[in-house]
């Protein structure tokens, strides 16, 4: 019988010589070229006047210019609404396929579909919704034929705020399903049994144990959904053609041609958006780590 000894691993202190950093240099060079430099350009630019001098004026204008404030307002509204609606709908679906007891094949199907749907954003999604709820869309036609109701006459318009919300939901709630299904799986069966053993009914268990445990995850996911919607461009542009002035559309217009008449302001808008996205991601990460601590 041959015995082999592997070198002792855990106790060996890794040499911290500079040579060890060679291997990650290509990656860092790439990150600098394609991520860091562009970000710095935007950052610096947001504090620069057209003449090239330092200024805080652009930042101030973020909060004073009507156009910009409106854009942020609409973006925040859409993101918040789809995050909330998508979050709730997604959670209920995730619940149905985990704790709710639906058969395993249905769960697999839903998870696959959620993966597809959450990746399906952009131009094709816009087209799909036009085919569904556009003026000659499928649902529009059904409403007309079977329910004698012309939704466009009633004021509905796909190419508007509400239409965009409905379209965004298509990738928002699957994202929620994908995040919450594993979280719901993490609810230990024994917790429910222990709660019942101590006299609680199903509702009390959910209110006092399950939901509190899941809350950081739910909140974190909704925050992620918020960021997700906030940063979307292609879907909105394909659907509304730039008519709805959300922040991303405004930035897009700014890139093509200086609609704000102040390049620095464009950069400032971009920075503002980055801040919102960073806060969103940070919030999600922090809340996820709290959940992990409990669901270990």
């Amino acid at each position: 019988m041959v015995t082999t000894t592997l070198p002792a691993q855990k106790d060996k202190k890794l040499p911290t010589s500079w040579k060890n950093w060679i291997g990650v240099i290509p990656f860092f060079i790439f990150a600098i070229l394609f991520l860091l430099l562009p970000s710095i350009r935007l950052f610096v630019g947001s504090f620069t006047t057209e003449g090239g001098k330092f200024t805080l004026d652009n930042m101030a204008q973020l909060f004073s210019q009507r156009v910009i404030l409106d854009a942020y307002k609409i973006s925040i509204q859409i993101s918040a609404i789809t995050a909330l609606a998508g979050g709730i709908f997604g959670f209920m679906l995730a619940y149905a396929i985990t704790v709710g007891g639906l058969p395993k094949p249905l769960r697999t199907a839903l998870i696959t579909f959620s993966g597809v749907a959450s990746n399906f954003a952009g131009v094709p999604l816009a087209f799909a919704f036009v085919a569904t709820l556009g003026r000659t869309g499928f649902i529009t036609a059904i409403m007309k034929t079977y329910f004698n109701m012309n939704i466009y006459d009633k004021g509905f318009n796909l190419y508007s705020f509400i239409g965009l919300c409905l379209t965004y939901l298509y990738f928002q709630f699957p994202l929620m399903v994908l995040i919450m299904a594993p979280a719901l799986d993490g609810l230990k069966k024994e917790w429910k049994e222990a709660a019942m053993n101590l006299g609680a009914n199903n509702m009390q268990y959910w209110l006092k144990v399950a939901l509190p445990v899941l809350l950081p995850s739910i909140l974190g996911s909704m925050i992620l959904l918020f960021g997700n919607a906030f940063g979307a461009y292609a879907t909105a542009y394909a659907l509304t053609g730039g008519a709805l002035p959300i922040v991303t559309i405004l930035i897009g217009a700014q890139i093509r041609g200086d609609v704000l008449h102040n390049p620095g302001l464009g950069f400032a808008m971009a920075m503002g958006m980055v801040v919102i996205m960073a806060v969103s991601l940070g919030g999600y990460s922090w809340l996820q780590s709290r959940t992990e601590r409990w669901l270990k």
């Binding site: 917790w191 049994e193 222990a194 053993n197 101590l198 609680a200 009914n201 144990v209 509190p212």
Partner: protein
């Protein structure tokens, strides 16, 4: 009258019979263990008492009340889980007081009871900690306090120590037993560890394949096993196939060895086959004291186990183990040497009844 009674309990899952023909009467204040290998049905039976499974047949009666069809939250039983199952979002105090809160007891009363329970498990300063800040052993103690806070009729423990380190297991099982006796609470303890069952139980129910093999005190179950399974599961054992030589003198033959047993085999015939067992510690060197049975054999192997020395011997084709106390000043025979070992008639136990 028994405090807890399981009458003719059976449980069938689809095509599998998990438990069958289970009859048990437990007296108030008794700690009864369900002992057996994985899959023997012990946990299933416990869960039926708790209400997490409904028996396919039979009745469960606690303190005179038929609880067979009652849901778990309507029974007065406390359950301890192998994985502790403490609620991660509540503090230790929150966990311990959970049942009382559900029962809508006044805050003052809850507070008092929580303090009482934390004292009972010797963790009075831990009220504000969260489960993730506690070790496994501490979590299990809190789980115990949580279950006992409601003063349940019966305490159910499902392999509570299996997830813990060996040293903690030993100290915690003593603590659990002490608390159980102090409170005089009736308890059922499921385990696959026979040392655990032997050390803390008033009685043990040995289970195998969904059936009860034997019910008895630890002493009875160890020294007088009634079936081959019980004999082999509890402690180490030498088990043999034997043949009857002479029923009138209780003589039997194993391979080339002749032995006499204490038990009567008068009603059997010559040549009948039997299963017999001899505990290793009942064998000794005949140089110390000669007993009824004498066997000449050769030493095959000597294993030092700490307080016990286990010696493997061979005679003809038959191997067996002999346990003798470790004595640093006693010279043991060498491997290959021939020795004479002996055991009494009572040491030869007959297994098939």
């Amino acid at each position: 009258m028994a405090y807890l009674e399981l009458k003719n309990i059976s449980k069938i899952f689809g095509k599998t019979t998990a438990v069958e023909d289970f009859n048990l009467q437990v007296n108030k204040g008794e700690l009864v263990s369900f002992l057996g290998p994985s899959g023997c049905g012990k946990t299933t039976t416990l869960r039926m008492v708790a209400g997490f499974e409904i028996p396919t047949g039979g009745k469960i009666i606690i303190d005179g009340k038929d609880v067979t069809n009652k849901s778990p939250n309507q029974r007065d039983v406390g359950m301890i889980f192998q994985s502790y199952a403490l609620f991660p979002n509540l503090t230790v105090a929150g966990n311990v007081g959970f049942g009382l809160k559900i029962a809508k007891k006044p805050a003052e009363e809850i507070k008092k009871r929580v303090v009482e329970m934390l004292d009972l498990i010797h963790m009075p300063e831990y009220g504000n900690r969260y489960p993730y800040q506690l070790s496994g052993g501490q979590q299990q103690r809190v789980a115990l306090a949580r279950a006992l806070a409601l003063s349940p009729d019966v305490l159910l423990l499902d392999e509570p120590l299996s997830a813990l380190d060996a040293k903690i297991r030993v100290s915690l099982r003593a603590e659990i037993r002490a608390i159980q006796q102090e409170l005089g609470i009736t308890a059922i303890y499921v385990t696959h560890d026979q040392e655990e069952a032997l050390s803390i139980s008033d009685r043990i129910v040995v289970m195998y394949n969904g059936h009860i093999e034997q019910i008895g005190t630890p002493f009875q179950v160890y020294n007088f096993p009634e079936t081959a399974f019980v004999a082999s599961f509890i402690g180490t054992l030498n088990a043999f196939n034997a043949e009857i030589i002479d029923p009138k003198t209780n003589s039997i033959q194993i391979g080339s060895v002749q032995l006499v047993t204490e038990e009567s085999i008068q009603d059997r015939k010559v040549g009948d086959k039997l299963m017999i067992a001899i505990r290793p510690e009942r064998l000794s060197f005949s140089s110390e004291q000669k007993k009824a049975n004498i066997i000449n054999c050769q030493i095959e192997n000597i294993t030092f186990l700490g307080s016990i020395v286990r010696i493997e011997v061979k005679t003809g084709d038959t191997h067996f183990f002999m346990d003798t106390f470790n004595n640093p000043f006693l010279e043991l025979p060498k491997i290959g040497e021939t020795v004479e070992i002996t055991c009494s008639r009572q040491a030869v136990i007959i297994l098939n009844h």
